[in-house]
Symmetry: D2
């Protein structure tokens, strides 16, 4: 191209193409206003508010807080306005108004991390209605009552750790002795559970598997018992038991509890403790159908994400959804799917408020909780 | 800094620091040799071989193929050399030599994708010993016999799809009618399963839950029955049933089968079909303990990854491990953990050969299989 | 919820919602047909064809090959049909028909990896029209002529490597001696470049910076000289020089060449070699405007991705675009942006064929090239 | 396996392997203490402190704040203790003590986002010593003075946006009119720059390219001029000019400024404005060598990350390093490399404090700044 030529229209038309007038509802991108004192050592709520117009994940984080606040503050009819069969369904606030049934899911690693204290806070204060966890999310809560988990590093070589009996979870370390302590603690409980199963069976006989049988254990029923037995205020399971918040874990055998149940089959033979998963799918699905409004707070991916979404299909979709995870959609995994994929399935309502925050949960959930559930100290829970 | 000064030693010493002599076992990075005819429209094995010294994930992919070939070709003692109680344990080749027990895991989306044909090929030809799948990995195999899944796009808006009854899985679409067909197909089978349960219960009475009871269904037992009933050569479950390859799915209720089991509880009331997960954890753990050598091929993350690793802990570690997934370790998830984390737990032996390929499975598994299991047409399977 | 109740319509209506009739243009998901001999140790083209209906990234990979084949095969008018000033613009095939101007970009690490041989193959056979690389993508090509790069591991600790003078690039190692050799090789060339600059300056005087000045060096001009000097058939730069394929690298100082130019400023003082980046932006933008059709093959993210896209804005958009990288869009980075973001800017035409493959380039580019550019051995290049 | 057998030692030994006694320096994982009032609507510093023992990225985030506070508070010798030639090198606090030279890098998108206000805050209060940005990180700062950027969505289709002249950056929108306004603003400045270049050339003649020439423009010199011209307190460039904080951008032509420079070549012909990148590499490398201690805060990947690291090689490594980005190491990219890779190159000292936070910068940098640089309102900057 000649160096003396005129700038071709091709380039200038493309680069300097005019835009339409700015629609009146457009919102300007802006950040923190450092002329305000609140910008210094900001509080959680101030930070979250400032992030709402920052763009990228900052605005998604802010939106997550807004959705959580919406699900917390929604109120429907008063119990007195409802027909009899309606007035026993779903959640009600202390004054008798319908409120949102909140399903919270988390993966095992979050209980291993220091987030356990935050998750326990939510359960202790009845801020969520039901929990779905993976197996490690159950047992690590119990084990932490028996012995601590420690800080480590992502790069510690596995061979040396195995030689020392140190199990690595990301940048955390769990001494294997903790699992030995867990075995000592849980075996007598499993013995007792088996005994109860056998007692019920001998009473019920061939009706032992009926719907209203109390012979058969389920994951949620065993978890509730474990919460009762651990009897420690640091525990999520303890508070879930106390506050009657069911914890679902369909694959409860997939972890240390599974190891212990496996070991127990040798001890109990020819009897065997059984865990039925059909009753639990019925239980969570019914909770979803009975909810006045349903909210989802899903921390991590995999089973716990799908399980809550699937339960919400039974009501033709959740009304609020917050996903926080590091999964990506490009591999077609459910773990990485955006909320909009769940809309196509009827798991989230088309008109629901939903957001996915692309982040390690540990990085953002402390801030989210500080700006929402823990924006102020909760009133003591009425017993 | 003065522009006329001499180059400071600080910089030149840092930049031009000498290196140690190259150790004799160092391997040069090199790529494809385009002087060879084999470089053009390369075969899978040629490509994989060329990738071994390319670095990054190319060399990891090549290493994955090498590990798979190792686990496939390993042979131990001949049956005749073993004591009686040993000679019934683990896997043997057609000539009676011990071979590797291969645990393969996959997530639901892979069955939804065209990889189903590849996974079926492996099961049909008895190339794997046991499977762990998530719930969708069971039902989508069956549903595909009833009606097809279609190509879509990641960006199709959820609301429009829901209105049309089209469910999105990444860039795939499943018409909701497929699930209606599935319901029609499975309900009579569940009826029959319940009938069998109740027959056994009436025979066994209060011993109905004993270890050797055939009253209680388990996920793997139900999956086997479904494989028998579907009776179609395109199905993974069909071949798993035919070839006696167990498929484990502890959270079998977490998907459409769960929906159907839930619906069935209303139909069957007061009776209720039960699925026990304790027997299955015993079954997979025993397979692991009995294996002469254990290999893991884990496609995706979440439950299926942890479940195979946990089973291999029972034998103090797998001997071979290939992970393929898109998860990252920074969030401390098991899904994203490198094989070396499993070494710290005793789930993979310290001296095992292991690799993680960071990729969407659909992108690399066709090539991996073409260069390993399907590097040549398998001999017909002896019945 | 009563266990005896009828299944609520709420759930069955949501789960069993009917779908619309399947549109006739819907394409079924299917995978490899193992009844065909071609499924065993498949060729690249067979594999890619089979992957087209697999979904997820498998189908994206197949689409990438299809787009590359489209950009390669497109032909426009014959030179004889064009007006004089048109007949010198853009690319023509050996028979005089217009063809696509292909811009290929790659990041430094790909030249460090074994992909260098594949990139060189494309340049050697004039299969691309222009290259954009980051600084390391220039110097590592030259350095590899002087001494090899070696295989390493991602987990090798940095301190030990620094003590040994071994520089790590992912799972590769570059001995620091290689950079010492590079310094020895390049300093005399920089001396010569400076000499030429000063000669031209003394001839041109105060017009030394004019547009048609040959006093001022640019990154692309220096890279061309380095390609000439290295004079080795293993080198990308050598073939780019020989085949007159410009290589753009606006930030050429950002790497070892920058270190050498920095050192050279001390040696050359008070004279100083200069590298102007304005002439190069003009050069690449003009190539884009003159192209009959423009195709982009962008391997990796960052500068090289944006630079090619920005050049294509000058023509109101590329006609074909293939991105391969591991970046994600959620952080608002250009690196992770999907092709559709570039459509909004006019950098890719709305009607263009485009795809992003979410993968490490090393994992997929060998297969892509084997199924496209190297599906058959190229005819010898006419000199 | 017989159901009546004893639990094999193989399993119990593996599962119940004892661990070594806990080393006394092990730190327990713990989270937020909700018995404290500070846990409610927490301040940034409280939150960051609580996150330090949470594990995963929470503890990495806390560590990033700790490193930043370390680099900010470090003090070396007093000017009066130094020899003459030392006393002009590096950074000093207002009392004359050596302090850390802080190199901050950011990608273009961060300036497009609301983080621009935070970045400007740091520059306005002289909290960083030098900046490396990509081209968009320069021009978007200027353009925002002329017209705003707006909130959008990641999923807005590109074709419709192009038709409206709306350019998408992740979930932000920039009206194309903003670039038209930018052109109007910058052309007269480029005219003036060219005029100054030509004046200097006519004065210097054939010495026009010498090291101490003021004929040749460089990216950093042009950026400084633009900062002076924009003359607006909302601008990063304005404060950088005012506070003499150099901004480096070796590929300044890779964006809208490049478009304008390209257009300008047609207007200015046969004269041409030139931008030399050799002088700038000398300038940044000298800053690194002269620094008493060097700290890096690198927000994003690509060029800006490598450029700062490479400059720190000149001093045999930075003393502090904080990376925040979403890149992964598995593809061998520099963008995704962990700090430990830079240790192998001598770009970070082996004994330096370093951390990588795996996150979108917008998600964590507001909190980081609120807990470090903005933990209290800064004293007015002495002019």
């Amino acid at each position: 191209m000649s160096t003396t030529g005129k700038l071709p229209d091709l380039a200038s038309d493309a680069v300097l193409k005019p835009s339409i007038p700015i629609p009146s509802d457009f919102q300007e991108v802006k950040g923190i206003d450092y002329s305000q004192d609140a910008a210094y050592n900001s509080s959680a709520t101030h930070l979250i508010q400032s992030m709402s117009t920052m763009g990228f994940q900052a605005s998604s984080l802010s939106q997550a807080c807004s959705i959580i606040n919406n699900m917390r503050s929604w109120r429907g009819k008063h119990r007195s306005e409802l027909e009899d069969h309606e007035s026993q369904k779903g959640e009600f606030d202390s004054e008798g108004f319908q409120k949102t049934t909140i399903f919270m899911g988390y993966t095992s690693n979050l209980i291993s991390s220091g987030l356990r204290d935050t998750l326990r806070f939510l359960v202790q204060h009845k801020m969520v209605s039901a929990i779905v966890a993976s197996a490690g999310g159950i047992e690590e809560d119990l084990i932490k009552v028996l012995a601590p988990t420690y800080m480590g590093e992502f790069s510690l070589p596995g061979k040396g750790l195995r030689d020392q009996g140190m199990n690595r979870i990301g940048n955390l370390l769990v001494p294997n002795d903790n699992y030995c302590k867990f075995e000592e603690w849980i075996v007598p409980i499993l013995d007792k559970c088996l005994e109860e199963q056998q007692e019920a069976m001998s009473k019920l006989g061939s009706n032992g598997l009926d719907a209203d049988s109390d012979a058969i254990w389920t994951p949620s029923k065993l978890i509730d018992r474990l919460g009762k037995e651990i009897n420690d205020e640091s525990s999520v399971l303890y508070w879930a038991h106390k506050n009657k918040i069911p914890i679902f874990c369909p694959a409860l055998t997939d972890g240390s509890i599974g190891d212990m149940l496996f070991f127990h089959t040798f001890k109990s033979s020819p009897q065997q403790l059984r865990l039925d998963i059909v009753a639990d799918i019925r239980k969570i699905n019914c909770m979803s159908m009975e909810a006045s409004q349903a909210g989802m707070i899903i921390l991590g991916g995999g089973l716990i994400k799908h399980h809550i979404c699937n339960a919400c299909l039974m009501r033709n979709g959740a009304d609020y959804a917050v996903y926080i995870n590091t999964g990506q959609e490009f591999d077609g995994s459910d773990a990485g799917a955006r909320p909009d994929e769940a809309v196509s399935w009827g798991k989230i309502k088309a008109e629901a408020k939903s957001v996915k925050v692309y982040a390690d949960v540990s990085l953002v959930f402390p801030l989210i909780v500080a700006a929402t559930f823990a924006s102020e100290r909760p009133a003591p829970v009425a017993e």
